[in-house]
């Protein structure tokens, strides 16, 4: 984990075109909370990871749908983009075959929304980590 001095040095290097902020963004997207963890913000990382993973897990447990990329329906494509925001949990879910059953009850529809919103929150979280890494947001 990086210290504050390390982060300050890294942020100075960013002006010269470092790839570190992009690494933070990518890690934050793939693994919820990882972007903040790399920056040494472990409390924030744990809280973000817990919130996003709980939303994803509850969504799947409720029988929510995991969208596919190639259905051709515009709303499904938007749902897919939201789901994809969750990063690895979505990819694992797709390979494991989760969320493929038909949504027949209201709570399963809630589950679908939990998964999509969890993915979008993960994107917000990853962008926040990127903003801290480039110095746009105060750490």
């Amino acid at each position: 984990m990086a210290t504050k001095a390390d982060i300050a040095a890294i942020q100075t290097d960013n002006a010269a075109g470092s790839t570190f902020p992009m690494l933070v963004l990518l890690a934050g997207w793939l693994i919820p909370g990882a972007g903040h963890l790399i920056l040494g913000k472990w409390v924030r990382a744990l809280l973000l990871a817990a919130a996003i993973l709980i939303m994803f897990a509850v969504g799947v447990a409720l029988g929510g749908k995991l969208y596919s990329p190639n259905t051709g329906e515009p709303l499904d494509i938007l749902g897919f983009l939201g789901d994809l925001g969750a990063g690895l949990p979505y990819l694992i879910g797709r390979f494991a075959g989760w969320g493929q059953a038909a949504v027949l009850v209201a709570t399963a529809d809630y589950g679908t929304k939990f998964i999509v919103v969890g993915g979008m929150l993960n994107i917000v979280s990853a962008i926040d980590a990127h903003s801290i890494a480039i110095g746009r947001k105060r750490a």
Partner: protein, 58 residues
């Protein structure tokens, strides 16, 4: 897994409030305040909308 509608609202609002609180504010104290504000707003609006729908139905 089954969950009541109200539990779903509470869980949904809590998770969103945590992420919004952390990402939209810089100071820890302000993060908590903004997170609490988001939580109250999300749950409050849902309850208000639920009562509004109940009134419309009657």
């Amino acid at each position: 897994m089954t969950i009541t509608h109200f539990s779903a609202v509470i869980l949904f609002a809590a998770c969103i409030a945590v992420v919004f609180g952390i990402t939209q504010r810089s100071e820890p104290k302000m993060m908590i305040r903004f997170g609490a504000y988001c939580f109250v707003l999300l749950v409050g609006v849902t309850i208000a909308a639920s009562w509004a729908m109940w009134l419309v139905k009657r």
